[in-house]
């Protein structure tokens, strides 16, 4: 089931934006460095929450969809156990759909 209004359904393949706002100036982001530019699978939608990137600066914070996205450990670090995974909460504006057949 796709959560009402959610862009990604469970099982969708997604890519995390390869963006590094901390290199451009003061910011507060909740997308850890190690998943940026990486490909994962949406586990489920987690609802919508005021954007922490705005809350951190006392700005009006529109709600953003949040997802649990699963990544295989090994491609992230080039090491580790082949079965192991990591589950990360990522906001929708950090996610891009992965075209069919993309790596």
């Amino acid at each position: 089931m796709t959560e009402a209004g959610a862009a990604f359904a469970p099982g969708a393949r997604v890519r995390v934006r390869d963006d590094w706002p901390e290199e451009r100036g003061p910011c507060h982001i909740r997308t850890p460095h190690y998943v940026r530019g990486r490909t994962g699978t949406v586990e489920r939608a987690l609802g919508a929450f005021p954007n922490p990137e705005d809350l951190a600066f006392g700005r009006p914070a529109p709600r953003r969809r949040l997802y649990h996205v699963r990544f295989d450990q090994r491609p992230l670090w080039n090491e580790g156990h082949p079965r192991d995974t990591v589950l990360v909460e990522i906001f929708e504006h950090w996610l891009e759909p992965l075209a069919e057949g993309s790596p």
Binding site: R30, T31, P32, Y34, L46, G47, F49, P52, L66, R70, Q73, L76, W77, E79, G80, H81, R83, D84, T85, V86, L87, V88, E89, I90, F91
Partner: protein, 194 residues
């Protein structure tokens, strides 16, 4: 060991309290009351939730679908607390919770996070070498078990529902809760019957 605060930090804290008090923003009574409320939260709550889930299938379903409601059903006040998610361990999947960015932790049902949970070493290593971290707690998982690290990066707080160990058949909820430690609820340890 956590180092004690340096004297200049202690002095800074008291100046901050004095400044906020002078402006009528807070009082010593409010600080004491808030601290007392925070002190009351403890991993015994999470342990009772797990024990109940092990013995009551309806509660287990609630716990896994809506951790916040499941906590409230145990008498925990969740108003104002972040939503609680509960992750179910299975014979082929084990969860380990970390917060690599800061120290997000399900305080409403586990109390203050332990010092090690907030340490740079745990935050750095849990996500990259989870089996090495587990080994430091004496937790060794077979190769056919997937270790699923849960990096608590945003608005949820996560707790693990471990598997009920063999040898606990017929145990009361109270007895079961006693073997569910805080470390089991974070995922660095497993409940043991003996």
């Amino acid at each position: 060991m956590a180092a004690p605060p340096r004297p200049e930090s202690v002095a800074m804290l008291e100046k901050l309290v004095a400044a906020l008090t002078a402006k009528g923003i807070l009082t010593e009574e409010e600080i004491a009351e808030r601290q007392a409320i925070t002190d009351r939260a403890s991993p015994e709550t999470g342990a009772r939730m797990v024990a109940r889930a092990w013995t009551d299938p309806d509660y287990r379903r609630l716990l896994l679908s809506d951790g916040t409601a499941a906590a409230e059903a145990m008498g925990v006040t969740m108003a104002g607390a972040p939503p609680l998610g509960v992750l179910e361990d299975t014979p082929t999947r084990h969860h380990l919770v970390v917060c690599t960015l800061c120290s997000c932790y399900p305080r409403a049902v586990l109390g203050y996070p332990p010092h090690w949970y907030k340490s740079a070493a745990y935050r750095a290593r849990a996500v990259r070498d989870p089996r090495g971290v587990l080994a430091e707690w004496g937790t060794h998982l077979p190769d056919h078990v997937e270790v699923r690290v849960v990096d608590s990066t945003a608005d949820y707080r996560w707790m693990v529902l471990p598997m009920r160990p063999a040898g606990t058949e017929g145990w009361s909820e109270e007895r079961l809760a006693a073997i569910v430690t805080r470390d089991c609820l974070i995922g660095v340890a497993l409940p043991r019957a003996g």
